[in-house]
Amino acid sequence: GESVGLHLPTLSVQEGDNSIINCAYSNSASDYFIWYKQESGKGPQFIIDIRSNMDKRQGQRVTVLLNKTVKHLSLQIAATQPGDSAVYFCAEWGGSQGNLIFGKGTKLSVKP
């Protein structure tokens, strides 16, 4: 069946270091992926997205990498800051209306 999952439920990094959050998906037909950041008590906030015709996309301090061969998605955060502490979700769109499938999330903790 379709599923989106994460390799690590928690990640702790030192302030200033780079963070890498990973996500695996199983639906090879999925063609759109999104990363969200969710702070405590708030709704998920869109960070960056990527379509299946791309391998890499960069934003401000964030990069998303897509490896369709192994069905793997990653979010890289450069120079991680305390404000980056949150739960990060990947989401997969399988092509069906409304059918955005979310992973369970990785909690990122940034140590000062």
Binding site: P44, A91, W93
Partner: protein, 112 residues
Amino acid sequence: SQTIHQWPATLVQPVGSPLSLECTVEGTSNPNLYWYRQAAGRGLQLLFYSVGIGQISSEVPQNLSASRPQDRQFILSSKKLLLSDSGFYLCAWSRGEGQPQHFGDGTRLSIL
């Protein structure tokens, strides 16, 4: 710019009572609208989505219902709440399928 509002932010209701959660979007027209539920430590579960006024699709059979009386208004309701209805309810909008979904800040619902 577009904004999405959900209210109330928190709600405590007794078992068997009715429910009405409201979500409105500003700054866009004819958005796709979504209701999600997020259990603690879990990903988001899609409950309902709507592509237009009066059009509702249900993803999960349950004692909840949704309505879209106006283009930018989405309401989540129940006639009789169950204990299992406790959770964090999120409304989201998008420009269409395969587009980023943008979330409100959610309603924390506790059933006693």
